[in-house]
Amino acid sequence: MGSTNTIKIRTVTLVDDNAILRVIFSNMIKSFPDFPLQINLFENALDALEYFENKKENLDPSSEIIFVDINMPFMTGWEMMDKLEEFGPDFLNLLNIYIISSSTSKSDREQIQDYPFIDGYILKPIDKLKLYELIRKLNNEA
């Protein structure tokens, strides 16, 4: 689908303490048919933050998609968003950030409005085809 002249999206990162989800999600990304994608998996937000902290200088944020769970030990997804804000708006606006959660509660959904740099809220379970659609859409945006 779409033009393959320019492949923008290179890396997908998942931050979720749910080990089973990490396995399925990782398999989904690996099976993405259009172009190869690198997958980073983190079981908690602290490790993920540390990764971005180190890579920040030689990283093209527009080539990254990050999926973050809300309910995690040590640090919730929202607390990670608070930390991410320290990266500055230039970096965050280019970065593609999605919240993934099993919570259908309104209060959880509405909380993304506190973080203008978050691109969306995805309800679990994650549908493989919809995930692929999203990646294609982001890749075609220029």
Partner: protein
């Protein structure tokens, strides 16, 4: 001189015949020709010899005592016009400078060649002086009358007005000419004269003073009140002095006093408040019916009552002190709530206002004490207070319930839906997956997800059981015994970590579900043993004590502590884990909190990172 004397001597015989009056003979120009002895004694002879009489002396007028021009003198007029002048009085000064009054009569003597005119002189000083004195006293009297507000009439025995004195003629009902010499009967209405005339007669008969008061009988002085004072005039025997005074002002003030008295009486007797007048010692001087009703004592019983004997002992001191302030004049009144002992023995709550009444010399005469029965109010207030407390408890309970519901919502949203969504995704993947290896792995994951779901459901039902189990049986728990049991379960860990564990059970017993208390101590001790600082000897102190009628349990450690500003809101939440590297499910504190709260207690935490943690359980068992 000689000649004149002789001439006078010759006429002496003639002159003497006129009696004791002084006689002076003048020629046609007015020169004195002769005087008799009487005249000599009256006039300064040395000054007037050979002179014209009217020019020789200064004559003064009777009215005003000013000098009269010689031409104006009466005898000079006779000299000039020949007219007879009779009894004209002039004053002259004598040698010793006193003024004497002389009466001059003068006439021409045409039938005698040697004398032209004759003047007879009489000393009238006593008369004139008497007269002057009378005039003076009349004037004084007039002055006196003008200074009075009253009208004085002279009235005959029959009631005829003969005379009047007043400073303000406006006060008279009639013009003077209309009432003088008229009878009171003809002037005033009979209802007034019927009383007045007998009084006049009585005053004369008994020689006494009589009074009467009457309202104005005429429209011109409508609304005014007068007082008559009828007094016999001693010198007359048949006349009285009637003094009329306007007493409207006095009547008005009397009326006002009467009105005020009436007002107070009405207010006192028909008040909705119990009112008593009490002396400074607290004895009842007077009391109204409402007071009898409130306190249950009859008027007779109240009349010999000292209220201090019936004031509640707890209220007496305050009341006494306030009364002292009234007595000292520091205030005029005070209001306080106090209890009186009812005749039947129970106490009645009253709102009592006490005010002070002073006499003319500003000493305290008595107190006015007003009571309002507020027992019903007090009772309702107590009910309200109790209901408020109950509502407060219900509110706390509801707040806890709401918070718990929110937590359940959170648990369902995350902890329950998470494995469900895993299962959902795994089934989806398995549908399209043909690779055997992957299929095998996904089945393993499916099983694991299922287990996780079952575990969570199990935990949830445990928690629900706690929050439903309000009426779980409470037994007399012995803290040291329960602690010993828990301690034994951690024995291995305590030994391996070389923990210094101290206890101080100031409170040994608590009415509580034994399983809960065990679980609470187990979870808190487990926490304290788990989050220790490496290479630091762990110290744990467990203590029970009393505070505000409630039992408290504290477990203090010197472990790694918690960043409270950051985590306090989550510390007792379901499956919250704050520390990495420890085997923790984040369930213990949540369950502990649930157990404590389900029985009305509270749990709190005091901690700083690297500074140890103290968990404080307030059982609030008496609330």
């Amino acid at each position: 001189m000689e000649f004149h004397n002789q001439a006078l001597d010759k006429q002496n015989i003639f002159l003497e015949t006129l009696g004791f009056e002084g006689l002076v003979a003048l020629d046609y120009e007015g020169h004195i020709l002769a005087l008799n002895n009487q005249a000599k004694s009256l006039l300064p002879f040395d000054k007037i010899a050979h002179k014209k009489l009217h020019e020789a002396l200064t004559f003064y007028s009777k009215e005003g005592q000013h000098p009269i021009h010689p031409n104006e003198l009466s005898f000079n007029k006779t000299l000039e016009t020949g007219a007879v002048q009779r009894d004209i009085i002039y004053g002259i000064t004598t040698e010793d400078n006193t003024l004497i009054w002389l009466s001059f009569s003068s006439k021409l003597i045409p039938d005698r060649p040697d004398i032209h005119m004759l003047i007879s002189i009489q000393d009238v000083s006593p008369l004139v002086n008497e007269n002057k004195k009378l005039l003076d006293s009349k004037q004084e009297l007039q002055l006196l009358i003008t200074s009075l507000d009253d009208i004085v009439f002279e009235v005959t025995k029959e009631g005829v007005f003969k005379n009047y004195w007043t400073s303000e003629p406006d006060l008279l009902f009639y013009e003077p000419e209309e009432f003088l010499n008229k009878n009171i009967v003809d002037l005033f209405p009979s209802e007034m004269t019927e009383k007045t005339l007998p009084l006049i007669n009585k005053a004369l008969t008994y020689n006494k003073v009589y009074h009467m008061e009457f309202p104005s009988p005429f429209d011109t002085h409508k609304g005014r009140w007068f007082k008559l004072k009828i007094k016999p005039i001693h010198s007359t025997k048949d006349r009285v002095a009637v003094v009329v005074s306007d007493i409207s002002q006095k009547i008005k003030s009397l009326e006002k006093i009467r009105y005020n008295q009436h007002k107070f009486n009405q207010a006192f007797h028909f008040s909705g408040l119990g009112i008593s007048l009490t002396d400074t010692q607290g004895y009842c001087l007077d009391a109204n019916n409402m007071l009898s009703k409130i306190l249950g004592f009859s008027q007779e019983e109240l009349s010999c009552t000292n209220f201090f004997d019936y004031i509640h002992p707890d209220d007496i001191n305050n009341d006494y002190q306030q009364r002292q302030r009234l007595l000292k004049g520091e205030m005029d009144s005070f209001t306080l709530e106090k209890r009186y002992r009812h005749q039947l023995g129970h106490y009645v709550w009253c709102s009592v206002t006490t005010s002070v009444v002073h006499n003319q010399s500003n000493e305290v005469s008595f107190f006015i004490v007003q009571l309002q029965d507020i027992s019903e109010c007090k009772k309702n207030l107590e009910i309200l207070e109790r209901q408020k407390k109950e509502i407060e408890i219900v509110k706390i309970d509801l707040e806890t319930k709401v918070r718990q519901l929110e937590e359940f919502n959170h648990i369902v949203a995350h902890n329950l839906r998470e494995p469900v969504s895993n299962i959902h995704m795994l089934i989806d993947e398995l549908k399209d997956e043909n690779r055997k290896e992957v299929n095998k792995e996904y089945f393993k994951l499916l099983k694991s997800s299922n287990n996780s779901l079952t575990d969570t459901l199990q935990e949830l039902s445990e928690i629900l059981e706690i929050s439903q189990n309000r009426n779980i049986e409470k037994v007399n728990c012995h803290f040291p015994t329960i602690f010993k049991k828990v301690y034994d379960q951690f024995l291995a860990e305590i030994y391996s970590k070389k923990v210094i564990l101290t206890t101080d059970f100031e409170i040994e017993y608590l009415q509580y579900p034994r399983i809960y208390l065990e679980s609470i101590i187990y979870n808190l001790l487990s926490n304290a043993l788990k989050y220790t600082v490496p290479r630091v000897q762990p110290q744990i102190h467990i203590r029970t004590y009393q505070q505000n009628n409630s039992t408290l349990l504290s477990i203090q450690d010197n472990g790694i502590g918690i960043d409270l500003p950051k985590f306090k809101s989550q510390i007792f939440m379901f499956r919250k884990v704050f520390h990495r590297g420890f085997d923790s499910k984040g369930l213990g504190l949540f369950i502990t909190r649930y157990q404590i709260e389900s029985l009305g207690g509270k749990i709190d935490v005091i901690s700083k990172p690297n500074n140890g943690t103290t968990f404080l359980v307030n059982f609030l068992e008496n609330n």
